[in-house]
Amino acid sequence: MRWRRVKALAKKEILQVWRDPRSLMIVLLMPFVQLLLFGYGVNLDIKHIPLCVFDREGSQLSLALLKRFQASNYFKVVEAESTYQAVTEALDNGRCKVVIVIPPDFSERINDLGASSVQGIVDATDDNTANIGLGYARSVVAGFSGVTELRWSGRRGSASKYQPMTVQSRVWFNEDLESRNFVIPGVVAMVLALVGAQLTSLTISREWERGTMESLISTPTTPMELLVGKITPYFVIGMVDAAFCLTLAVFWFEVPFRGALLTLLLTTSLFLIVVLGLGYLISALIRSQIGASQVALLVTLLPTSLLSGYTFPIDQMPKPVQAITYLVHSRYYVTILKAVFLKGSRLDELALPISLLILYAGAVLFLAARAFRQRLD
């Protein structure tokens, strides 16, 4: 391997990225925008959920409960109705998302039996809000009286009784600050996975499309030199992006960072190599820029958002799907990030995901170097 050639290739790549507005945008703007979007988008501070109340008893106790709902920031009482028909109509028309019905024997039962229940109806078309609304309602009721239980049912949407999703309710109410701690590291992984793959996925296909590859392969340049020369600048750019995202995570989103900086840097570099290698591989296999970029998106966005453990916990998935997640590169990085940030794990504690990631990197780079065809047919 001739270093002068590698350097020349890297320098050319940097100049091209610098002078190409589309690449620059991917490099600079995309991570920033995505981090903010996903960071805030997964903001679970859902407040002022429209609430409709149906007080069938009208006692002082029921009123007291309703006053709690009114006082809560989570809800906004928009209507008080006096028939089931009216409240269901309000739900159907979307004027409210949650309905609270207090039974006519509410205080009686509390006095006599020491326990009572209150009925809640949620608009189930929007699962998110439904779950959250439910959670909040439960907390309001629980705060009112330890002996009162909230029975609930869903209307419209997936009207069947759906899971209470205990993990979700744990994450999503009263813990929204902590939830961010889980979410943001996942977002960082996703941003790096996306941006990294996009950057390199265009690099080879662009040269084929523009015709520069044909003259490049007629020079003494070897596929390995090409790989190193092209990936290196993107590695540097990727590390800058990663540093930027992680800084934002810690200082803007205030995710606590309990681990060692060195661990973070090393594991991030490793992940970046995997991501860039993946993009390069795609680029070597698909000779059109548009095709490569779309495949890169498909291969990174969907798996990362669904199967990396960032949104949905892996151990909750069906077994076959869990097996598939071993193929998802971001899965390892998400695990590592969460551990480093929140648990302060050290390198030796992370031996398993790190070695798997190293294996992954080796496989990808090997395939990438081989996939690049130096001949025209």
Partner: protein, 312 residues
């Protein structure tokens, strides 16, 4: 004194699925020659270039360049050659200087000698004032000249040019050829393909390709002598009438309409010119000049291919 053979090709065949692009092609080039391939578009011209450059393997046959077996060891030949594909891949977002430096680095040329060579080549193509300009902003002719400069920066022994002046205006084309001629004195062997037949005449030797086979391979002058008959050029304001009359005249093999007259292929110019004059005058068809002309490579190609097609 015979010059050493630098390129030697034998029995080259290449198929793409059912299409036979090249069939049993054989030829050799001596040092300092400019060898030109002429033939229809989409035919084997680009394929030959790619095979010679080692970026595509042939189905059968052998290629030796500068002593290197290209088929067995393509990577090794790349330092000896320079290949300029049809759409020469210049990096449009890099400047002229940056493009040249990039190729100089790829071939690991020593810094000092490359700077001096670069300045010389750029001056020869009139590109010195454009050194800091982005390649994408150059005109077609200048892009080709830049491509040529990039190809020459490592002083290759063999230059492979695939339709290097396609779409380039005649002025830039002349500049380009001046550079090529200059290279001959440096002993560089040039193989090029062209569909500009007027350009083909500038080559030392020509290979006429048709349907993947080499019809003829010789110097332009020798090829011209191959053409049966003589060419007579008649300028006339009524070319169509002239054509109809000439076609019926004895000894005329073919007539071609051109913008301001006709070109007639006859068996013997000395005999037929007075006859044609007579025929035209008698019918009152005006004509300005009637004289023997040199057949162009196009005339030659048409008559040779025509023969070959009949023979097939």
């Amino acid at each position: 004194m015979t010059l050493p053979v630098v390129i030697s090709v034998s029995g080259l065949t290449k198929r793409f699925g059912e299409l036979v692009a090249l069939e049993q092609l054989s030829f050799a080039c001596a040092k300092g020659e400019i060898f030109g391939f002429v033939g229809p578009d989409g035919g084997g011209k680009t394929t030959i270039m790619r095979l010679l450059a080692g970026i595509m393997p042939p189905d059968t046959g052998s290629i030796f360049i500068d002593g290197v077996d290209v088929v067995a060891d393509p990577q090794r030949v790349k330092a000896h050659i320079s290949y300029m594909p049809q759409r020469f891949g210049l990096y449009e977002d890099l400047t002229v200087d940056e493009n040249i430096e990039f190729f100089a680095d790829l071939f690991e040329i020593d810094r000092k000698s490359h700077e001096e060579r670069m300045a010389r080549l750029l001056a020869a193509s009139g590109m010195t004032p454009f050194r800091k300009r982005l390649a994408g902003q150059l005109s077609g002719g200048m892009k080709q000249k830049l491509g040529l400069t990039c190809s020459l920066i490592h002083a290759p022994q063999v230059l492979l040019l695939d339709e290097p002046t396609a779409g380039v205006d005649p002025v830039s084309r002349r500049d380009f050829w001046r550079i090529l001629y200059g290279l001959r004195s440096e002993g560089v062997t040039i193989v090029l393909s062209t569909s500009y037949l007027d350009e083909a005449e500038r080559c030392t030797r020509l290979g006429l390709l048709h349907s993947g086979r080499m019809l003829h391979c010789d110097t332009p002058n020798a090829l011209r002598k191959l053409m049966p008959g003589d060419l007579v050029s008649i300028a006339s304001e009524e070319p169509r009438k002239a054509r109809d009359l000439a076609a019926r005249t004895e000894g005329v093999q073919s007539v071609l309409l051109v913008g301001d007259g006709i070109h007639v292929v006859v068996d013997d110019a000395a005999r037929r010119i007075p006859e044609l004059e007579r025929v035209l005058s008698e019918s009152g068809v005006p004509f300005d000049r009637i004289e023997k002309a040199s057949p162009t490579i196009e005339d030659l190609f048409v008559s040779l291919v025509g023969q070959a097609t009949i023979e097939q």
